[in-house]
């Protein structure tokens, strides 16, 4: 059994910052970076293991497959029912409409605005416990 933290974001700096923050709070293993929804979707479809937990920090605005398309794709995927997969939307958008729309997905555990603070990283890791 392993814990996987999937960071899905097209901004490399976000990946860099996230990793450094996570490292500060002692979380270094199992961080996976994806530049768009499609990459993350491919990974989950191919590598999903029953015993493992998956926390997905999902950006909304991305090329190829954006966060919305990813959420739609997950909804139609049988994996979406799996309790081991948690999605937290992490976006630079502060649009209330976006938040309401994201929270309407059952699979979306929370909606946070970028940049995440150290406390927020600690909070999101709760999902992997």
């Amino acid at each position: 059994m392993s814990n996987n933290l999937l960071i899905v974001d097209d901004d490399p700096i976000i990946h860099l910052i996230s990793k450094r923050f996570l490292s500060k709070i002692g979380f270094e293993e199992g961080i996976l970076s994806f530049m768009n929804g499609q990459e993350a979707m491919d990974f989950i479809s191919e590598s999903y293991q029953n015993e493992s937990k998956y926390l997905i920090l999902l950006d909304l605005n991305m090329p190829i497959m954006n966060g919305w398309e990813f959420l739609e794709s997950m909804r139609s995927n049988s994996l979406a029912q799996n309790e081991n997969i948690t999605i937290i939307v992490v976006t630079s958008s502060i649009d209330k409409e976006d938040e309401d729309r994201a929270r309407a997905y059952e699979i979306v555990h929370d909606y946070l605005s970028k940049p995440l603070t150290l406390e927020q990283f600690e909070y999101v890791l709760e999902a992997l416990k």
Partner: protein, 365 residues
């Protein structure tokens, strides 16, 4: 009985001096302030009538030396301008006097039976009656004006044959047909041809709500072919024993154009708001994240210079976005509201923030 204290001005036309004296006595007995103009024949009466006194009533002997009977009545009526006329007569003229009542004479009194109270009552009743008639005429005029002089187009049409029964001046002005033309048309004739089936559906619907108001927005066409968007209010009434609908048609063509222009502006403003919350927030959140990281790591931060470089990159990106917003805001110009169709602003693109991903860290992490 105390005297009537109101002011009255009467014209008494009587050729018999005895009767005239008696009349004046009777009047003095009942009225405190009565001004009496006297005439002993029609020519004198005519002179006085031409002076346009504010007469309360005319008391008229039916037989004068120079004119009598119906000729006299007709002549007096020519000048009287709705002033009540009370005719004095003998038994012999009773039938004739009755006929005058139908021709606008207020009352007739038999000379032999006249007394102060009877005369007083007759004058007061006549005045009251004239007041009622005036009120009624005013009220009729008022309602007629409400229809014909209404600034909004109005008309009546027969429910069965859909023919226009009456149209007001505003309808004539707005639709370009004369009243005569309207009256030979049906309500289908002020619709573009393609709207007629829709009208027929609406008519079926409105028949079901026969006793109630009905409203909706419809497309009409003027004589010159101009297309109008009109908000129609209608109600069912009985007019001259026929079931008709009264229509008030409020031309909202300009209003709709105005709303469309406002909607265009709103689209732009929404697009600006979208940019604020998405595109600006992207580099900004990156800058804030980097600063947080530098704060967190302090002196131990190995790649401080690299991180600062990416702050600068993000700041430049932010600068460009702010400039774009400024340009967009300038195009939200109220003068465009009535101008030609405002150029459509591109819809907010969900991937807008992702078009130019930052390039500083290009290694896949």
């Amino acid at each position: 009985m105390s005297k009537d204290v109101n002011r009255y001005e009467l014209l008494v036309v009587e050729d018999n001096p005895g009767d005239l004296l008696l009349l004046k006595d009777f009047l003095d007995e009942k009225f405190l302030m009565v001004k009496i103009h006297e005439a002993i024949n029609f020519s004198e009466a005519e002179v006085l009538l031409k002076k346009n006194f504010q007469l309360s009533a005319i008391i008229l002997d039916l037989n004068l030396p120079d004119l009598s009977g119906s000729d006299l009545i007709e002549m007096i009526q020519l000048y009287s301008n709705q002033t009540p006329i009370i005719v004095l007569t003998g038994y012999s003229d009773l039938e004739v006097a009755k006929a005058f009542l139908q021709r606008g004479v207020s009352d007739f009194l038999l000379k032999d039976e006249m007394n102060p109270t009877l005369l007083y009552k007759s004058i007061i009743y006549s005045l009251q009656r004239r007041k009622y008639i005036e009120d009624l005429q005013n009220s009729q005029q008022l309602y007629s004006n409400l229809f014909s002089l209404s600034p909004q187009p109005m008309w009546l049409y027969g429910i069965e044959d859909l023919k226009f029964l009456d149209v007001n001046n505003a309808a004539v002005a707005r639709y370009g047909y004369t009243k005569q033309e309207f009256l030979s048309m049906t309500i289908k004739d002020i619709r573009p041809k393609e709207e007629v089936p829709e009208l027929e559906k609406t008519l079926l619907k409105s028949q079901k709500v026969k006793n109630r108001e009905f409203s909706g927005i419809f497309t009409h066409q003027t004589k010159s072919g101009e297309i109008l968007k009109v908000e129609v209010f209608s109600n069912f009434i009985i007019h001259k024993n026929k079931p008709v609908r009264i229509i008030l048609a409020n031309d909202i063509t300009e209003k709709l154009k105005y709303l469309e222009a406002i909607e265009e502006q709103n689209k732009k403003l929404r697009s600006i708001a979208w940019t604020q919350s998405h595109v600006i927030r992207a580099p900004l959140s990156r800058i804030m994240g980097i600063i947080q990281l530098i704060e967190l790591e302090g002196e131990k931060c190995a790649d401080l210079m690299d991180l600062l470089k990416s702050v600068v990159e993000s700041a430049k990106e932010l600068d460009i976005v702010v400039e774009e917003i400024a340009n967009k805001s300038q195009s939200v110009d109220p003068e465009n509201l009535w101008g030609e169709k405002i150029k459509t602003l591109e819809k907010p693109d969900q991937n807008m923030a992702a078009e130019d991903p930052p390039t500083y860290f290009d290694d896949k992490m």
